[in-house]
């Protein structure tokens, strides 16, 4: 375990002197998503790992960027807590730094918020070779621009993340999940009922004619919500981890995989999804995973939506907006971090 951040700072300063760009990575669990120049030297943050401070009664943990998500999960679980945004571990090698840089969250996103929502503070090296700290370890903090949260989803283009302070939540004391056979119309109506009432629902997934629901929280409250589904099959809650890490059979092939964001609660209607070869729906109907045989994007008639290539598709280069370009330069004027990654 390396406790000292100076090797990473030194590496950045050397890169600046030699004008040699770097590709930042933790354990490389999400390398298939990397859209930048893969020929530049790697700056691995995986050795910069470990817990800096954990006070369970504060619901805050500070960890180095290279800390594995699985380790974070185990440490927090010992105290009945969790990092609620639940980022994918993918092949089990996912790190905290990678989770923040990608900004990805698990099936509980509509209820638990995003990675950046729970990001209280960061320590980073910018493109001037300076170590900077933003935010802190307290829940409420409005001093200065919110650079910590700006780093969420910035794909390592603004600097090297050294450590982060994360807001945790008590892990639910009780979880029950069911699967029920419904058509997509019935799904839409069922889910929209839940979005407008207090309940313990914390996960939805629809594919192959089945709706999967997760209820979490106080035991009596979960049991009450589950009464409506007494005749349905109860399933192993591991289902949600498989969904998060893409180890469900749905994801197990080499077809082109697309990620489509829809407006909140506009669950895909059957007439729209029929045109797709295969689809899986998460997040109350707002996140679609679509597979296509060739590398052509899926056709989606629900508006508005955003289609993004995910796996087994060649990344296309895009142009950043004026302000995105300036922001990149405000942190990394020599463009040494993750060249070719454009936000």
């Amino acid at each position: 375990m390396v406790n000292d951040s100076s090797p990473l700072q030194d590496a950045v300063n050397t890169a600046l002197e030699q004008k040699q760009p770097l590709r930042i990575a933790g354990e490389g669990s999400k390398s298939f998503l990397y859209s930048g120049d893969k020929t530049v030297p790697l700056l691995a943050t995986s050795d910069h790992k470990g817990v800096i401070e954990y006070r369970p009664e504060e619901l805050v943990i500070s960890v180095r960027a290279g800390t594995k998500l699985s380790e974070l999960r185990d440490i927090t679980a010992e105290h009945g807590q969790m990092w609620a945004c639940d980022p994918p571990l993918f092949d089990g090698r996912g790190t905290v730094g990678g989770a923040i840089a990608s900004g990805w969250c698990g099936p509980g996103r509509p209820w638990y918020g995003t990675v950046r929502d729970s990001l209280l503070g960061v320590e980073m090296v910018n493109g001037y070779g300076e170590i900077l700290k933003f935010g802190g370890k307290v829940i409420k903090n409005v001093a200065g621009f919110d650079v910590a949260r700006l780093l969420g989803g910035s794909q390592g283009t603004l600097g090297v993340l050294l450590s982060a302070s994360l807001k945790l939540l008590p892990a639910p004391e009780y979880t029950r999940s069911i699967a029920t056979s419904l058509n997509s119309q019935e799904c839409t109506s069922l889910i929209s009922q839940y979005t407008r009432k207090t309940s313990t629902l914390s996960g939805t997934c629809y594919f192959d004619g089945k709706l999967y629901l997760r209820f979490t929280g106080v035991a009596a409250a979960v049991d009450q919500d589950m009464k409506a589904f007494e005749s349905n099959d109860e399933i192993d809650p591991q289902f949600w981890h498989k969904l998060r890490d893409h180890t469900l059979p749905f994801f197990a092939d080499d077809k082109a995989l697309w990620r489509v964001s829809l407006s909140r609660n506009s669950l895909a209607h059957s007439e729209n999804t029929d045109e797709l070869e295969e689809v899986l729906v998460e997040w109350n109907g707002s996140l679609l995973w679509c597979k296509t045989q060739n590398s052509m994007p899926p056709t989606i008639s629900i508006k508005p939506h955003a289609i993004r290539s995910f796996r087994n598709i060649k990344h296309e280069t895009s142009q950043s907006s004026k302000y995105a370009h300036r922001l990149k330069h405000a942190f990394d004027p020599q463009e040494i971090f993750n060249p070719g990654v454009v936000l």
Partner: protein
């Protein structure tokens, strides 16, 4: 004074009634709710449309003059203090609720919309907007976005940042930018997170989409009275450690309890050294279970009184004392100065003790009523503004509290913003390199630094004057940087 040229340009683009130039018209705008430092604006523009906002931005950019944007003016840190050579752009008239989408659980509103009116409109769909700053009846959502406003219910439901899903922003260069929206994620940098809490320095927000939540089915309020402030502080950490996230968890010290009782007679235990108010909401089963848990924790921490309110009327009564705390403080002294430091919860007890020590040293009373669950302190320093010595003492006392918050791992502002009030403490909380990074971010949107100048981010020169800059062997650090 504002230049004749700039005024002519404004009159050419805007209706005459929207422009206030006479001193008596401008006086009501010389400060927000931070009244310690006032300034008469060069000119006031009461915008009635997004087109007016565009015009003002264009004139300010072309004439290179300062622009301060303001909503209802309830801010507590002077973020909307006007500039005497610039335009004060008031957005209160842009107060239309453009859309409530019950299916997506969102509302899209103009920046002048008051915080509370969003919940009022959402109510018919069984929904509400969670962040509730105490000024929610008057404060506008645009200002909430600018300051990342908090409130009692932020412990469970998050700050403004967590409840705003989309923004439309006009930049001083005249670009209209849309960040976020009704989807749960989007591509590109998280400019939405950057805009929230940027104190009007990066752009003018013209449209806001907020998240609405289902109104909880059941709500209970537990009151706990304690014989010791520090133990009450520790009980706060105990409740959180027991795995409960209450809807709200507030603390009032002895003086605050007494003031509230004298003001509203709500029935708080008058001899308690501290009172905790804990709101629990959710489904019936959830609330029953968590109420038992919290009551158990309060017992463990030797609460001398525990009172449970289960019907709406009783709950309101218990909350009333908390809600009247600020006006009640107004009866304890002619003036009070409200601080906003934020600290780790486990430091609540020790920090309250330290503040009591300072109170004796400065010979000024202090009343504590605050968001204990968030570790967000609001010490109210009681003083007499007509007494010069007391006024100076109050400011010094406040600054010392903030410095203490930084020392124990906290921050100088939890929810009120930096504004002009805490700009010097920014030099204590951040290094010069960090301040410089803030300026670079500012330049992304406003290279001429005309958006709310003099607020939130201190100049390097200012930090240097305050002793924050370490000059080594007569050499300035960062010699390549311009000093502004």
């Amino acid at each position: 004074m504002i230049s004749e040229f700039a005024l002519t340009q404004l009159f050419a683009e805007l209706p005459e009634h929207a422009i206030l130039t006479d001193q008596y018209q401008k006086e009501p705008f010389e400060s927000d709710a931070y009244t310690v430092k006032k300034e008469l604006p060069g000119v006031v523009v009461l915008a009635e449309s997004v087109g007016h906002v565009r015009s003002v931005l264009r004139v300010c950019n072309e004439c290179d003059i300062p622009l301060v944007t303001r909503g209802a003016g309830t801010g507590l840190s002077g973020g909307a203090r006007p500039h005497r050579e610039g335009v004060l752009l008031v957005l209160s008239k842009l107060n239309n609720i453009l859309e409530v989408d019950p299916l997506a659980c969102t509302a899209t509103v103009e920046p002048g919309t008051t915080n509370l009116s969003i919940s009022e409109v959402a109510k018919e769909h069984g929904l509400f907007y969670a962040p509730d700053p105490s000024s929610q009846i008057a404060c506008s959502i645009g200002g909430n976005v600018a300051e990342n406003a908090g409130g009692v219910h932020c412990l469970k439901y998050g700050l403004t940042l967590h409840n705003v899903v989309g923004l439309t922003v006009l930049t001083i260069e005249g670009d209209e930018l849309v960040f976020g929206g009704k989807t749960y994620d989007w591509e590109g940098y998280d400019f939405l997170a950057l805009m929230v809490g940027s104190e009007g320095m990066l752009g003018v927000v013209t449209e806001i989409t907020v998240k609405l939540l289902p109104i909880p089915a059941v709500r209970h309020v537990l009151l706990g009275g304690f014989d010791d402030v520090e133990i009450a502080g520790n009980c706060v950490a105990g409740i959180i450690a027991a795995g409960v996230i209450p809807g709200g968890l507030e603390m009032m010290d002895e003086l605050a309890v007494r003031a509230a009782e004298e003001f509203a007679e709500v029935g708080y235990p008058k001899d308690a050294k501290a009172v905790l108010l804990c709101e629990l909401d959710g489904t019936e089963e959830e609330v029953t279970s968590t109420t038992d848990k919290v009551a158990e924790v309060m017992k463990q921490y030797d609460a001398s009184v525990i009172e449970l309110a289960t019907d709406p009327e009783q709950c309101e009564r218990l909350w009333l004392g908390r809600k009247v705390a600020f006006p009640a403080a107004g009866r304890m002294a002619s003036d009070f100065y409200c601080m906003d430091g934020s600290i780790p919860r486990y430091q609540i007890g020790p920090v309250l003790k330290a503040i009591a020590g300072m109170s004796q040293r400065y010979n000024l009373g202090v009343m504590n009523v605050f968001h204990a669950g968030d570790g967000n302190l609001h010490p109210l320093i009681l003083y007499d503004a007509s007494d010069k010595k007391q006024r100076a003492g109050a400011e010094e006392f406040g600054a010392e509290i903030l410095e203490h918050c930084i020392r124990v791992g906290g921050t100088i502002t939890g929810e009120h913003g930096v504004g002009v009030e805490k700009i010097d403490q920014m030099c204590s909380q951040f290094s010069l390199a960090e301040i410089e990074q803030f300026h670079r971010i500012r330049n992304v949107f406003d290279v001429n630094r005309n958006m709310n100048p003099g607020k939130a981010i201190p100049t390097l020169a200012r930090c240097s004057e305050l002793g924050g800059m370490h000059i080594h062997k007569g050499q300035m650090p960062f010699p390549e940087l311009s000093r502004f």
